[in-house]
């Protein structure tokens, strides 16, 4: 069964209780000879999704269908040929009038692209910040406030990182920002950085680290080189995945992917969603789905109790969504896309209990089982890494100043360990201040701001939810001499 547009229900959200989608101009582009509608500001993947497309490409060897998944350029499940350029990540490229998009299948033809000849861009710059989420933005701001030459690299068209898709009241417990929606925080940070003269490098993917602190960047199909005085690495996190039969079917999405599609692009992922995971992200995204008019059929959770805040869980219960603990997903049903799922009970030893299998009717399976830090770059930079379960995976050893074991390479935010946005921003502030001191010399004011941020961070981690990260951070924080 192949989806065709036209008779599909409207996927673009019109009325939303908290969000307003100001869509830009309407235009059309070409997908496999068919005209597809898009609005200015929509990515190619979103527009195709809204048009009803589910299978975006095929896996390289087994040629299994591949669909939309992470929506933030990390998973390569949505690559297509765009204006003759194969392997384009359609989830991070904006749709444009008259664009020609093709399904490249498992393996595209060897491309024939006219590449402008010219000298490769190579530049000496001050501080490079990789990633423009809350961590990168706050690092950029404090460094620029103190006269540093700051360059902020982000592979997206828009800065703000994961903050942009947080439409709910913030769960950062006792900070001034709690109660404000993530989207607004991001806008303020971006504006402030702009005022201070931070140079933004958008659509610029940082590919690698070379000695001595040189970074390689891809922008608009060109390769650029920046020799830096110091680097702050803040690329955030990657979603965790689950092993179950057919888990690669289009329609199995990460929670972040669903948020991007729904809250950023204003497009609903489907009609009936099965949510896997009842942590904060699982319950919040479930509630956001309901707000967007989507039916959440069930939330399954492997743990004996709900992991997320009770406030959000209660909202779900009031909306009549069953939350089944000690349950897991056994398999996804369907050939070309999700047409249902089998869920199952598990026992105290996490073993599935035979005979408890049950079919769930759904067209989307949303996986919300946590994140792990995105920090391969730091490994390449030679930073010593350690596996810390409490922080979501491998993280770099660092000082209290967020300095890694590689000279003048700092880390902040989810790349340093999975916590939350307020923590990311505070870590960004610390790293930004410390690196500025190291490169440009220290000042009383910088020192004071840095110490204040450290205190706030400590307070943030005092609450009951701060227990695990507090333990985790302790395990990977090392003394100044070690670094």
């Amino acid at each position: 069964m192949v989806d065709v547009g036209g008779h599909m229900p409207e996927r673009r959200i019109k009325d939303h209780p908290v969000l307003e989608f100001e869509r830009g101009n309407e235009f059309y582009f070409d997908y496999e000879g068919k005209k597809v509608k898009a609005y200015e500001g929509e990515t190619i993947a979103s527009a195709l999704y809204a048009d009803g497309l589910r299978k975006f490409t095929e896996s390289k060897l087994l040629e299994r269908p591949r669909g939309f998944f992470c929506a933030i350029g990390k998973c390569s499940s949505c690559i297509m040929s765009v204006d003759g350029v194969p392997h384009t990540r359609t989830c991070v490229v904006l749709a444009k009038e008259g664009m020609k998009v093709e399904n490249q299948g498992a393996r595209p033809k060897f491309p024939f692209i006219e590449v402008e000849k010219g000298k490769r861009l190579e530049r000496d710059i001050g501080i490079a910040i990789v990633g423009g989420g809350p961590a990168g933005l706050t690092a950029a701001i404090i460094a620029a406030e103190h006269g540093a030459d700051v360059h902020l690299f982000d592979e997206g068209d828009k800065l703000g990182g994961q903050l942009v898709k947080q439409t709910h009241q913030f769960f950062g417990s006792h900070t001034e920002d709690a109660g404000i929606r993530g989207i607004h925080i991001a806008d303020e940070l971006i504006e402030r950085a702009q005022e201070l003269g931070v140079e933004f490098h958008n659509r610029s993917t940082v590919l690698g680290f070379y000695p001595e602190r040189t970074i390689a960047v891809e922008r608009d199909n060109r390769f650029e080189i920046y020799n830096t005085e110091g680097i702050i690495y803040a690329t955030g996190a990657i979603e965790n995945f689950l092993a179950f039969e057919n888990n690669d079917l289009p329609g199995v999405y990460g929670a972040g992917g669903v948020q991007t599609l729904m809250n950023e692009q204003g497009i609903v992922p489907g009609e009936k969603v099965l949510m896997i995971g009842s942590g904060n992200v699982g319950v919040i995204v479930s509630y956001q789905l309901i707000q967007a008019g989507v039916d959440v059929v069930e939330v399954v959770e492997a743990l004996p109790e709900i992991g997320g805040y009770q406030v959000h869980a209660s909202k779900l219960r009031r909306a009549g969504v069953p939350i089944n603990t000690r349950h897991t997903i056994k398999k996804a049903l369907g050939e070309e896309k999700v047409e249902g799922a089998i869920v199952q009970k598990i026992d105290e030893n996490w073993q599935p209990i035979e005979g408890t299998e049950r079919e769930v009717e759904c067209d989307v399976i949303c996986i919300a089982v946590g994140l792990h830090p995105d920090n391969e770059f730091l490994r390449q930079a030679g930073c010593e890494m350690e596996y810390i379960r409490e922080l979501g995976g491998y993280v770099p050893k660092r000082t209290e100043d967020m300095r890694t074991t590689t000279e003048r390479v700092y880390v902040a935010g989810d790349s340093a360990g999975i916590e939350e946005a307020t923590v990311a921003a505070l870590e960004g502030k610390i790293a930004g201040a410390a690196l500025t001191e190291e490169v440009y010399g220290s000042s009383k004011e910088l020192e004071k701001k840095k110490e204040e941020a450290k205190k706030s961070l400590e307070q943030m981690r005092m609450g009951p939810y701060g227990e695990a990260p507090r333990q985790g951070v302790k395990m990977c924080t090392v003394d100044e001499e070690v670094c």
Partner: protein
């Protein structure tokens, strides 16, 4: 706790595990294979998978020819598709000297049973239509050369070796080799000692360190060599294309990705396995000179491994003068995968005191005592 083993093999790359496989096949399973890291973590998991018989020294041609024949049967033996694709090797000459040598090489290769051909630039372009031949003077081609998927070969050996009851211990570093007089007594590892009188040094870029532990001297030096892979495409490139002059080689794998590497003539000796910007810049430029359409293609990964180099670019096999039953199988430079089947088999035969199926005396370490050893000329990178 003190353990005992008939043979201890140091290194779980293609040669360590290949030797274990042949020992097992000959009915001998009192063997322990040790690796300080994971299986295939050395050059065996970092190479270009190239299988070439177009060599200039008689030894290398014979080793490569016999090995190619063995690779052709390996799918069946390991019950796995090893992705051995015989699209040939296209070797390009860029000046008259090279071209003259090529003629000589083809003659020698043909006399030993390798059916290589001497080609004009136009004939080369028929094989690779995308090729820029403006500076190409001549070429040679041999259809039975090709590429294989290294991970499948090495893991295929590992699975079979375990089935044979041979123990493979990864993440177990060898710290010392204890000798008394000219006899080996035991191998000290980070997880205890193993009593043995027979050790195989299959430690690739670390082999001179291992030799030193046993009080033996081999002239091997580790040198970094870099390589990369592009995004996958439908097959457009049949052979492996190589140039000695530019130090570059590239081929397309069964998966569609193009895999290619290039040597840096100024590379320093040492254990360094990180990727460099020099490679990124120079490899891409050279690749585009060879096939201009590559300018529209993305590289998705670059990495590096160690060539274990010797003064004549030929491997070191057999025993050493200082210590008895200390077998060398190292010094393969950039071609230790393609000759592995036969050298692994012969090493197993030597260990078990069998008549070797190929004479490898010329490749023992004492050849360097003579002043006039002859170097292999067809080395890439």
């Amino acid at each position: 706790m003190s353990e005992e083993a008939g043979v201890v093999i140091i290194g779980a790359g293609v040669n360590g595990l290949g030797t274990a496989y042949h020992l097992g096949k000959m009915g001998y399973d009192d063997v322990v294979v040790l690796d300080k890291s994971y299986i295939c973590s050395g050059a065996s998991g970092r190479n270009g998978g190239g299988i070439r018989q177009q060599w200039t020294s008689e030894e290398n041609i014979k080793l490569a020819l016999e090995s190619r024949k063995m690779f052709e049967k390996l799918n069946e033996e390991l019950e796995q598709d090893l992705e051995f694709y015989q699209g040939g090797y296209l070797v390009l000459a860029f000046d008259e000297d090279e071209s003259k040598d090529f003629k000589k090489n083809v003659k020698l290769q043909n006399s030993l049973g390798v059916e290589s051909q001497y080609l004009t630039p136009e004939e080369a372009k028929e094989i690779v239509p995308e090729l820029n031949i403006s500076d190409v003077v001549a070429a040679t081609f041999n259809q039975t050369d090709g590429t294989i998927y290294p991970f499948k070969v090495v893991n295929g050996y590992a699975n079979r070796v375990r089935e044979m009851g041979i123990d493979i211990r990864d993440h177990t570093e060898v710290l010392d080799i204890v000798t008394e007089g000219d006899e080996i007594k035991k191998v000290k590892t980070e997880a205890g000692d193993i009593k043995t009188d027979t050790v195989v040094n299959a430690a690739g870029g670390w082999s001179s360190q291992i030799a030193e532990m046993a009080g033996a001297e081999i002239p091997n030096k580790p040198v970094r060599h870099e390589i990369m892979v592009t995004e996958p495409y439908k097959r457009f490139l049949e052979p492996m294309v190589i140039s000695f002059k530019h130090g570059i080689y590239f081929s397309q794998s069964e998966h569609g990705n193009v895999v290619g590497g290039m040597g840096n003539p100024d590379e320093e000796v040492g254990v360094n396995q990180t990727g460099s910007l020099w490679f990124m810049k120079n490899f891409s430029k050279t690749l585009i000179d060879f096939i201009p359409r590559f300018s529209g293609v993305n590289m998705i990964r670059q990495w590096a491994g160690l060539y274990d180099t010797t003064p004549d670019a030929q491997p070191i096999l057999g025993t050493v003068p200082e210590v008895e039953r200390f077998y060398q199988i190292n010094g393969f430079s950039g071609h230790g995968f393609m000759v592995s089947p036969v050298v692994d088999k012969v090493t197993a035969e030597l260990i078990l005191g069998k008549e070797p199926s190929m004479d490898i005396d010329r490749l023992s370490v004492d050849r360097f005592e003579a002043d006039d050893f002859e170097a292999e000329g067809a080395v890439v990178g």
